[in-house]
């Protein structure tokens, strides 16, 4: 029995409405408990901000990030955030580390833990390549992981939607999650991946997908209804059509509206829209490009059925990686950059392209502003998850820097002062004086995630929850984030303590222990007869069109590290 007592912590736990109040936290055997014995190890947290462990709900940390590493060996040497990037030699406790945007697996685990993060969700698992994702998961230390499986351009999905077979569609989703050991349904540029199979794209919600006689809108609604039928813990997770294109805010709002009629089957949103910064662009071309954040925020403020994440841009080098194949080709051509592409038979397409966000580029400056505008214009932080869509908008190691933008108008003004007049004319950020407090920051980095992924044991400090805890060397009330942002950034960059499952993994910003994390996956139950009918259809797919057998497609148990199976019972 291992016991820890965190004494006199200054606790910020929005799930319980606790706003920076002094409290003790008791831990036994990895869980938060009411009380501990006198033998408990004591952590003196006087004067230290204490929150649940951070939960990054949308990051690219396994799978196609390996293509990013492969084509960018230069990234391995980059060190723009000392202590959290670049090359670090192995020690007795840690493996060797390299990289900035595309760190090696060990570095990902250590660096998230140093930021006080303890759970991540990899936002794109191609079904056929899922085994690879889990192999990387195994080598990412400390963190608990989950992943979202891609369904948005899948032939079987499109056929079932076209042929109006919602029950078989749900059975297929359940099977696909099991095959890939995924946690939820990811949809990227619905229909666009299939169009990209022929070098094309779809232009919006009602543009038919070549050869499949369905529209992106039908795919979205079909998958959302299947998702709710299966009572999955997470809603559908949507990367909208037209990502990265001026004027796309209209498609984004249209997509959000589509789900007003979808009833969630659990106490969570019906829709999660991801990295909205890339989808909140106004204007008609890159010439008259401007922010579309106010329109999107306006809609979100009046809507109750959705959550979203930012995809905040960080200036400097980034590596874009997305299952939106056509977007990456367009990026590569526009930026004259190297381009990697990986289309997956019958399923989806993806690409990887490095780029550089410069504050001198008016487009990049406006992109930077849009992320912050979304966070500050949307009133309810419970609708927002903070992300950089790492490493698309920038590496996660910049989270502490980005927090200072959210918490300090003065800090924003400093950055903005370097922008061109043209950039300033295209954004509304300079007129926004809202500053987030620690409570709101905790909501956006932990609490929203706990709720939106239906993981009540994560992202909060309730009795019974996992003892995943971050303690920062910072006392709310004594440090003023709106002016002392350097202190804020420093404290968030290296937690005084990070506890993962009740074990101290970081102390004074350094790695103390490297336990293995858990892998969450969803096993959705489907009636046997429906499953059998669906299996017949996919047997044919495997026989005729796939290049691997169905038996070899399923990710085997041995790849799932410390599996946590989440069972759901579908409604049929």
């Amino acid at each position: 029995m291992s016991e820890i007592l965190i004494k006199n912590a200054s606790v910020c736990d929005p799930a319980q409405g606790i706003n920076c109040e002094p409290m003790d936290i008791c831990i036994r055997d990895g869980k938060i408990v009411e009380r501990v014995s006198g033998n408990a190890k004591v952590i003196d947290a006087v004067g230290k901000l204490t929150m649940a462990g951070g939960f990054d709900g949308h990051t690219h940390s396994a799978g196609k990030i390996n293509v990013g590493r492969f084509i960018n060996p230069n990234d391995a040497r980059k060190n723009p955030v000392p202590g959290l990037s670049g090359q670090v030699a192995r020690t007795e406790k840690t493996r060797a580390q390299v990289g900035y945007n595309t760190p090696n697996t060990y570095a990902i685990g250590y660096r998230y833990a140093k930021l006080g993060y303890t759970t991540i969700c990899e936002a794109a698992i191609p079904l056929l390549a899922a085994r690879h994702t889990h192999e990387e998961f195994k080598e990412i230390p400390i963190l608990d992981k989950m992943g979202l499986s891609l369904f948005g351009s899948n032939w079987q999905v499109m056929e079932y939607i076209r042929d109006k077979e919602p029950e078989k569609l749900a059975a297929y989703i359940a099977w696909g999650l099991k095959a890939s050991r995924g946690y939820g349904v990811k949809i990227v540029n619905p229909g666009g991946g299939e169009a990209w199979g022929w070098g094309r794209n779809v232009t919006g919600l009602y543009d038919p997908v070549p050869n499949f006689d369905v529209t992106p809108a039908e795919i979205l609604i079909g998958l959302a209804e299947a998702n709710e039928r299966l009572r999955l813990p997470h809603s559908i997770h949507v990367h909208c059509n037209n990502l990265g294109k001026p004027g796309n805010y209209a498609t984004t709002i249209e997509t959000m509206k589509l789900f007003e009629k979808v009833k969630p089957s659990r106490d969570r949103q019906a829709l999660h829209v991801t990295h909205v910064q890339f989808n909140a662009y106004a204007g008609t071309s890159w010439r008259d490009f401007e922010t579309g954040a106010p329109m999107v925020a306006d809609y979100v403020n009046g809507a109750d059925h959705l959550t979203f994440d930012l995809g905040q841009v960080i200036f400097g080098p980034a590596v874009t990686m997305t299952a939106d194949g056509p977007v990456e080709y367009a990026n590569a051509r526009m930026l004259h950059e190297k381009w990697s592409n990986q289309d997956i038979e019958l399923e989806d397409a993806s690409g990887v392209v490095p780029l550089f966000y410069s504050p001198k580029s008016f487009v990049n400056a406006v992109q930077w502003a849009i992320g912050l505008e979304l966070a500050l214009l949307v009133k309810d932080p419970w609708k927002i998850m903070f992300t950089t869509d790492s490493p698309n908008g920038g590496s996660f190691v910049n989270y502490p820097e980005a927090f200072t933008y959210l918490m300090s108008a003065k800090r924003r003004a400093e950055v903005i002062s370097g922008f061109s007049k043209m950039a300033l004319d295209r954004m509304v950020l300079p007129g926004i004086d809202r500053e987030l407090d620690f409570y709101e920051l905790a909501v956006m980095t932990r609490s929203t995630q706990s709720k939106m992924y239906s993981r009540p044991e994560k992202g909060n400090l309730k009795v019974g929850s996992d003892a995943d805890i971050a303690i920062y060397d910072l006392l709310p009330g004594q440090v003023d984030p709106s002016t002392e942002y350097a202190k804020v950034k420093q404290a968030f960059s290296g937690a005084a303590y990070t506890l993962k499952g009740g074990e101290i993994v970081v102390k004074d910003g350094e790695i103390e222990a490297t336990p293995k994390g858990k892998t969450y996956w969803v096993n959705a139950k489907v009636p046997k007869s429906i499953d059998a009918a669906m299996q017949k259809d996919i047997d044919r797919k495997f026989r005729k069109y796939y290049t691997v057998s169905k038996a070899n497609y399923m990710v085997e148990d041995s790849y799932i590290q410390k599996p946590v199976e989440i069972d759901t019972e579908g409604v049929f």
Binding site: I65, A76, W198, N341, Q342, N552
Partner: protein
């Protein structure tokens, strides 16, 4: 009599996963679906010379010892050396590769794969220009134009054309070979070329010229192309460019004829650029024809664990990468290593003489199921189980799709994975003692 279905063939980079194997009395008695190469691998393990037992060289002779003794001797070599080369690891599982990387990190070694002498330049090309690719099923289901450039699948990947490319039938390609145009570009009329609709014979080492000419034409500058390019008349080059541009879906499969001929990685860089250009007109992708069944896997594992796909030097405690300086042959030609660990590869047969000569001078640890020329210069020989037959583990197909290799029969041999684990443990023990 157990019949195992959907077994994965651990010979070439095609990684066919539809092999049916019958096992009787722990012996494979029947193999269905494998090609002649795959078949001979499955049966070969009974017919070829297995290394029967661990061995240590004493007074010039390899003498049998136990696994424990061999591992202790190998570990001693490793802790007493300052510049170790770890090489090979491409005909074994990803799990073994992962262990090998940990051992290399522990001992400050340089670790490199057989890509050093095959598709290493393709990796460099990808670092320069990216790699627009697809899973093999995309080719099966969509490709109407297939180009084999500097490769000869008829002999090197015998089932490739029927399972994935020229002859396969898919969703948009139900006519199979009849609905496809097959182009072969090579310096000699190989057996693959004999099957092509269009065989383009180019002069040795002039691939880059032809790729550049094709790019010029695809991009609308045919006027700059001379009357012959790479020994090919301009009219033929124009026709080839038209075939590519007018396709619905093109895949260029490229082999060592491209990566190891003159201009090396620049060829791959140019192919990648050509693919990017072609996508202005049609859909196009490229796939390297990887030889060893898991050379792709080495690159994948090394990349996620160290940031780099090959030629990784741990001397500084963190991974350092500079192929040309840190490749296996670079080190050996400079006579730098003072010990080597060679697994699942045969540099004795495949490396340049100068490199082999240096290998012969230093202590060499070999891990392999079979005796080969490297055994002749090895000082510690550790036999291992054959992955995909006697041991399970992960392998990556040439298109980076991973598959679980099955264990079909029992064996008395340790797996590569176990051997590196034991070796790492022993090295740590000896270091602590020191």
């Amino acid at each position: 009599m157990p019949v195992i279905k959907d077994a994965v063939c651990s010979l070439c980079g095609s990684l066919c996963d539809d092999i049916t194997v019958t096992v009787e009395d722990n012996k494979i008695t029947k193999i269905e679906n494998a090609c002649i190469l795959g078949h001979s691998k499955f049966v070969g393990m009974f017919e070829h010379d297995r290394i029967e037992t661990p061995m240590i060289r004493k007074d010039g002779e390899l003498v049998p010892v136990s696994y424990e003794e061999a591992i202790e001797a190998a570990a001693k070599i490793l802790v007493n050396s300052r510049r170790i080369l770890s090489y090979g690891w491409c005909s074994t599982s990803c799990e073994a590769v992962s262990g090998a990387i940990e051992l290399a990190e522990e001992t400050g070694s340089v670790i490199d794969s057989t890509a050093n002498v095959c598709h290493g330049p393709s990796a460099l090309a990808a670092q320069e220009k990216g790699s627009p690719s697809a899973s093999l099923g995309e080719i099966k289901n969509r490709a109407d134009v297939i180009v084999f450039w500097g490769c000869n699948p008829v002999h090197a990947h015998p089932r490739h054309m029927s399972r994935y490319s020229s002859f396969s039938k898919g969703f948009f390609t139900e006519k199979g070979r009849k609905g496809r145009t097959m182009v072969v570009i090579d310096v000699r009329k190989t057996d693959t070329a004999k099957l092509a609709d269009n065989y383009v014979e180019i002069e040795q080492g002039s691939d880059l010229l032809l790729i550049t000419a094709l790019r010029s034409i695809v991009n609308g500058h045919e006027d700059v192309v001379p009357e012959t390019v790479a020994g090919v008349p301009k009219a033929e080059v124009l026709e080839l460019a038209e075939t590519l541009k007018n396709a619905k879906f093109v895949c260029i499969f490229f082999g060592m004829g491209v990566t190891q001929s003159r201009s090396k990685y620049k060829n791959g860089d140019a192919v990648s650029s050509l693919i990017s250009d072609l996508n202005q007109h049609t859909k196009a992708v490229m796939i390297g024809m990887r030889g060893h069944y898991n050379v792709t896997g080495f690159g994948q594992v090394a990349t996620w664990e160290t940031g780099f796909p090959m030629a990784i030097d741990f001397a500084r405690g963190y991974p350092y990468y500079n192929p040309g300086e840190t490749g296996a042959n670079d080190l050996l030609v400079r006579e730098e290593p003072d010990a080597a660990i060679i697994a699942a590869a045969d540099p004795g047969a495949h490396f340049p003489q100068k490199a082999v000569r240096h290998l012969a001078k230093i202590p060499v640890i070999q891990i392999d199921p079979y005796a080969n020329p490297t055994t002749e210069i090895a000082d510690v020989v550790i036999p291992s189980a054959i992955v995909g037959i006697e041991a399970e583990g992960t392998a990556y197909r040439m298109d980076a799709i991973s598959l679980r290799m099955k264990k079909l029969i029992d064996t008395r041999f340790k797996t590569d994975e176990e051997i590196v684990k034991d070796l790492t443990a022993k090295v740590r023990e000896l270091k602590r003692g020191a």
